[in-house]
């Protein structure tokens, strides 16, 4: 558990955070300039003006009342800044081995987990954005951190690259037990990785809790283009090259067709990402539609999200779905809680991210 009771004076405002973070992965969301990076730097010990208390599993890193303020080198944090912050005079391998607490075995394991073998002799200047992020993540992991601080590890990457890095982050989450503070302004990332969310605005905690609980406010706060509202844990069932689809089964839910993705082994775990605006809602059984994925369900809840309405739909099995509709569509279909509906999604709207 990470206890935060923190004040950091900044140019425009004072960052004030009081929160107990119990999650394995805590996503820190908020617009630019909300104080997200400052929070990570304060935990890492890189903000001299930080006051208050920061404790990790009961051990204080900073505690004004007891005059505790551990130097960064004694805090055992793994910090991955937004631009990776690799040492330009060292190769990828030298960067990974830079930490004072690693050993050969640890270095080797981390390099394999993050798929860095082909990059080891290259200098940061010749690495792509995604490669730099992976090297920086490896450098932090090798040093046996007690907490990982990741600052928008996916922000500077295009969609394709994001989908290649996210699996590594999920592996890190599964294989290393250190808790993670994950700064992002992307709701989809937060939902696919985090079990707790802290929303910051102008240096103050605006909301905190389980991702699904504060989803409506998150969806409203985020840029619509960046948000992926439907994220489902699933398993690959089969590939059908002739039909051009890969079939997956949502854990405890129905089968879904996605565009053919032969790289995913049958039985492999994956996260399905479907934008709420790609979910069609019908009030009668759907026939003669090209969409491959059609399911019967009931409206559970309607929420205003900006100019749109976010409709929560419970299917007979598995997790609920979210559909983003215009108020006009909601009115014309007379959608109300408990109304029977059918949801439809084209295969191409289903993305496999991990």
């Amino acid at each position: 558990m990470i206890e935060l009771s923190l004040e950091v004076p900044l140019a425009a405002f004072v960052l004030r955070i009081a929160a107990n973070l119990t999650g394995r992965v805590t996503a820190i969301l908020g617009p630019s300039g909300a104080g997200k990076t400052t929070l990570l730097e304060a935990v890492a010990g890189l903000r001299r003006k930080a006051r208050g208390r920061i404790a990790l599993d009961g051990a204080a890193l900073l505690d004004d009342a007891r005059r505790v303020n551990l130097a960064p080198e004694r805090r055992r944090v793994g910090y991955v800044p937004q631009d990776a912050g690799l040492f330009p005079h060292l190769t990828a391998l030298e960067n990974v081995k830079f930490g004072a607490r690693g050993d050969e075995g640890r270095v080797s394991t981390v390099i394999d987990t993050l798929g860095l073998r082909p990059l080891l002799n290259r200098y940061p200047v010749s690495l792509s954005g995604g490669e730099r992020q992976r090297v920086a993540l490896a450098r932090a992991l090798v040093n046996r951190p007690k907490v990982l601080l990741l600052d928008e590890p996916l922000a500077s990457l295009d969609v394709e690259l994001k989908e290649r890095i996210l699996p590594y982050l999920l592996r890190v989450r599964e294989e290393w037990r250190a808790p993670m503070l994950y700064v992002t302004h992307n709701v989809g990332e937060a939902l696919s990785l985090a079990d707790q969310v802290l929303v910051l605005k102008e240096g103050a905690v605006q909301a905190s809790g389980a991702p699904r609980e504060i989803l409506p406010s998150l969806a409203a706060a985020a840029e619509p283009s960046a948000a992926i509202e439907n994220l489902f844990a699933a398993r690959v069932v089969s590939h059908d090259p002739e039909a051009g689809v890969t079939r997956l089964r949502i854990d405890g839910g129905p089968e879904v067709s996605a565009p053919l993705a032969p790289a995913w082994a049958s039985g492999a775990g994956a996260t399905l990402a479907i934008r709420a605006e790609d979910v069609l809602v019908a009030v009668e059984p759907v026939r003669g539609l090209s969409a491959r994925n059609v399911y019967a369900g009931r409206v559970a809840h309607l929420d205003v999200a900006g100019a749109d309405v976010l409709v929560r739909i419970d299917l007979s099995l598995g997790p609920h779905w979210l559909a983003r509709l215009t108020p006009a569509a909601v009115r014309d279909l007379a959608l109300a809680p408990d109304a029977p509906v059918w949801v439809a999604v084209k295969s191409h709207s289903v993305k496999l991210i991990a």
């Binding site: 010990g45 890189l46 004072a100």
Partner: protein, 226 residues
């Protein structure tokens, strides 16, 4: 070619310049780092103060050192009782040339340290290295070309220093006579061929030092482009 005495002058000058550069290196690095990182009031005044020997007439620096260290002063008398006379000794040559070349080292090294992203130092700290280790593993390696270029410039300046040296140490054959002083001396006596031979020696030494600086600076520029 050079006579035995003249070769002695060349070796003495090289020795003084080398020793002086080695002595000012740690101090200059510390001052340069402090100037690069310091953001408080008086930054401009401090930077100007450390650059002052560059713009003052060398003889002015020389007279200040002479007056400060002669046996009439407390400091000079105390050094004398330790057997460490400065004025009119090789130590005076070392002091005068070091003071005059110090700002060149500091200016070049300061620019190099300013180019090192302080966040990289912070990251090195989070990876378990203390401030000293972080300096030697990150700051210095990233700034070393600038530091080395500054040291070379300082070395070349020490080779050619005249005004401050002659004020503090005089021009004593076999004791404080450097190349620059010897050229002046031979020319005053009308021995222009000897003055020219010594001048040729300084050209070779100075060219070597400056070429090294150029080479280091070029490599630094190339790395920044990639």
């Amino acid at each position: 070619m050079l006579t035995a005495d003249e070769r002695g002058v060349v070796l003495f000058t090289l020795g003084i310049a080398t020793l002086g550069t080695l002595l000012i290196l740690p101090v200059g690095i510390a001052v340069a780092l402090a100037l690069a990182r310091y953001r408080g009031p008086g930054k401009g005044a401090l930077e100007t103060l450390f650059s002052l020997p560059l713009v003052l007439p060398p003889t002015a620096v020389g007279i200040l050192l002479l007056e400060g260290l002669s046996r009439r002063t407390t400091l000079g008398a105390w050094l004398s009782t330790l057997g460490l006379d400065v004025v009119f000794t090789w130590r005076g040559v070392l002091l005068a040339t070091s003071v005059m070349s110090f700002p060149l080292l500091v200016r070049s090294a300061r620019t190099a340290f300013e180019e090192v992203d302080p966040r990289l130092v912070g990251i090195a700290r989070t990876l378990g290295h203390g401030p000293v280790a972080a300096f030697f593993r990150v700051t210095l390696p990233l700034a070393w070309r600038g530091v080395a270029a500054g040291a070379t410039l300082a070395f070349a300046r020490a080779l050619g220093e005249f005004g401050a040296t002659i004020m503090v140490a005089g021009n004593i054959p076999g004791r404080t006579r450097t190349l620059a002083l010897a050229i002046f001396h031979e020319s005053q006596l009308g021995r222009d061929d000897r003055a020219m031979a010594l001048a040729a020696a300084t050209v070779v030494l100075a060219f070597g030092a400056l070429w090294t600086t150029e080479w280091l600076t070029r490599r630094r520029a190339r790395r920044r482009q990639t």
